[in-house]
């Protein structure tokens, strides 16, 4: 009772990275709270799915398996969570801030009247004093999130209502296996007790989901381009450099909006968060929402023709020059001097 539960998303039988990242964070929080880490998977043909989850330290896995539960639709999944939570009363529930988690989380939170904090960038355990009510709370979940377009960071708590619910974007937390042989208990839910036929009022009639082709999250080196790169043509220089030194290409939102790069490559508050060994920012001004997604890179090189670009303040090397001029020089040197 009163454990921490992670809603695990699946696509084609694979648990989403963001769910594994949340299990990893959840494990740390559960250790602090001295409670169990639980996982909930809802879908179809879930045999063996636990093999993907146990290594991340889950003590219990709830499985809700039914043909009608995949692909995801809002109301049946909501009913499973709401009815299960009434039974097991988790203290914390975490989900991905994905198009599924952001559809499901608010509906569940409304039904249970428990607070939900969106897009947290950090989760901690701490105490809270309500000065007006003169009440002290121990072991609350601090839900830390940016708001106002990234200009402020707010710490939010849910003192009274349970579960304390939060969503987190992909790539924000690290994913780490606890032990390949970690084992817990599997509990198969009797679906008829959780959902009713009236939940099936939305039908998916067509679905085209592509597998992620790029993996900027895991790349040790990222060459990222902004609006200053100028064109899709010029972005080829970035692909060239990335291929040469063994990196991936990322982009700012302005570059994505301009059609220079795919959305999957967007880095920042509304894209992915990355922390590579080396981040080369080309023609990126360094607005707060972009920096939020790359500030933890070990080394940052900024290439910008504006000596006062904001990105320069967080860069280790500031190269004042144009992308067209600098990148070919880097490529040339590396090709000549590496074996």
């Amino acid at each position: 009772m009163n454990n921490l539960i992670v809603y695990c998303e699946i696509e084609d039988g694979i648990i989403a990275d963001v769910s594994l990242e949340l299990l990893t964070k959840g494990r740390t929080l559960a250790n602090k709270l001295n409670c169990k880490l639980e996982a909930l998977v809802i879908g179809h043909k879930l045999d063996d799915i636990e093999k993907q989850i146990f290594p991340y330290g889950a003590d219990t896995i709830y499985l809700a398996d039914d043909k009608r539960l995949y692909p995801y639709t809002s109301m049946p999944h909501t009913s499973v969570l709401v009815n299960l939570f009434k039974e097991i009363k988790p203290q914390i529930c975490l989900m991905g801030a994905t198009s599924i988690g952001r559809d499901l989380g608010p509906r569940v939170s409304s039904s249970l009247h428990s607070g939900l904090t969106a897009d947290c960038t950090s989760l901690e355990i701490g105490s809270h004093e309500d000065k007006k009510e003169r009440k002290n709370y121990e072991n609350l979940l601090y839900q830390i999130r940016p708001a106002f377009g990234g200009n402020i960071v707010a710490t939010i708590v849910n003192p009274e209502c349970r579960p304390q619910m939060a969503t987190v974007r992909e790539g924000v937390m690290k994913k780490e296996i606890v032990s390949p042989s970690y084992k817990g208990e599997i509990i198969k839910l009797d679906i008829s007790k959780y959902i009713s036929d009236t939940d099936f009022v939305v039908e998916v009639i067509e679905r085209q989901i592509e597998k992620s082709k790029v993996n900027i999250k895991g790349a040790p080196i990222i060459v990222a381009g902004g609006y200053g790169v100028g064109s899709k043509e010029n972005f080829k220089l970035l692909y060239d450099l990335a291929a040469t030194i063994g990196g991936e290409v990322g982009a700012s939102r302005a570059a994505v909006d301009a059609g220079f790069a795919e959305h999957e490559r967007q880095i920042g508050q509304t894209g992915v968060t990355v922390r590579p060994k080396l981040y080369i920012a080309c023609g990126i001004s360094g607005q707060i929402q972009h920096i939020a997604g790359m500030q933890d890179s070990s080394m940052i090189i900024a290439i910008n023709n504006d000596p006062n670009a904001p990105i320069n303040t967080i860069a280790d090397y500031v190269i004042t020059g144009t992308v067209e001029d600098i990148l070919p020089k880097m490529i040339k040197y590396y090709k000549k001097n590496s074996k």
Binding site: T98, T155, V157, I205, R207, Q208, I245, L278, I303
Partner: protein
């Protein structure tokens, strides 16, 4: 078949153009320094509503906005672009609401507005950024929701066909009406203001706005043209439970707020000569950052 359509629209500070004076010394947001705008994705929502109205002659589009008295601007802006009317939900008691208390208040107002076929909102507001209000309104009204919509393709025989744009693809769904739909920024842009409508509605006012006017001429216009009266409702008007609105109806509490400042680093400055770039690359290879 004509439709009754409700559009949820929020007035937001323009966080996309945050200047230096936008933050107060104590780290809180100086809302006064930011222009108040129609939440961008709510304009996409309004456009979807107007397209449905084009397809179904005789349909009505009503706006619903909750906010301070000045949010009446949202209703006028909607009328200028083709909406038929609207409601401003305003009361001190609504202040400090989190998304749950917001959606409770909106749901109370929607019940008062009467029958509806579809409620359309934006996916997300640019200040709170949570994308939670749409699904929560749907749950409070016990109706289905379709989020991340890019196009409401059609509504026929009590079913809406909707194209959704997700992170890695698209989905087409069929959902029973009435329902709540939230619309992405990737959907069609909203049509501009219509000059005739601007002419028609420029004096549209809420009761409190017209009380603040001691202009006899305006007063007489408002009396003779009932369509210029914008609805303004309070907690009492929508039969809302005081315990469930505003701060007291909000399970989430803001514990603290900090201004974001990034730690400036001591950077090495290069002008990008051949020699400098060669040296930099050499160093990066030598310390195994690359290669």
């Amino acid at each position: 078949m004509s439709l009754k359509i409700i559009v949820l629209a929020k007035q937001v500070p323009d966080t996309r153009n945050v200047g230096k004076d936008a933050m107060k010394a104590d780290g809180t947001v100086n809302r006064a320094a930011l222009p108040a705008i129609f939440n961008p994705e709510d304009l996409n929502a309004l456009e979807q509503a107007l397209q449905l109205k084009d397809q179904h002659p005789g349909s009505t589009v009503s706006l619903l906005t909750m906010g301070p008295p000045r949010a009446a601007e949202i209703l006028r802006e909607g009328l200028f672009r083709g909406a038929d009317g609207g409601v401003l939900l305003t009361d001190r008691a609504f202040a400090g609401a989190d998304t749950l208390a917001t959606s409770y208040a909106l749901a109370c107002a929607i019940r008062k507005m009467g029958e509806y076929d579809i409620i359309i909102g934006g996916r997300q507001a640019i200040d709170g950024d949570t994308a939670q209000v749409g699904p929560q309104v749907a749950e409070k009204l016990h109706i289905p929701q379709v989020t991340y919509a890019e196009k409401i393709i059609k509504i026929e025989n009590g079913k809406a066909t909707i194209k959704r744009r997700l992170e890695r693809g698209i989905e087409i769904v069929e959902a029973k009406t009435p329902l709540v739909v939230t619309v992405n920024g990737s959907a069609d842009e909203c049509r501009p203001r219509n000059a005739k409508l601007v002419q028609k509605y420029k004096y549209a006012k809420t009761v409190s706005e017209s009380q603040n006017q001691d202009n006899d001429y305006l007063g007489s216009i408002l009396d003779s043209r009932p369509y210029l009266k914008l609805n303004e409702w309070s907690v009492v008007d929508v039969d809302a439970d005081l315990q469930q609105v505003g701060l007291s109806g909000s399970p989430t509490k803001v514990k603290s707020i900090e201004n974001v400042v990034f730690q400036a680093k001591e950077s090495k400055r290069l002008t990008g000569t051949d020699v400098e770039i060669d040296d930099l690359m050499k160093e990066l290879i030598a310390n195994h950052t690359i290669g």
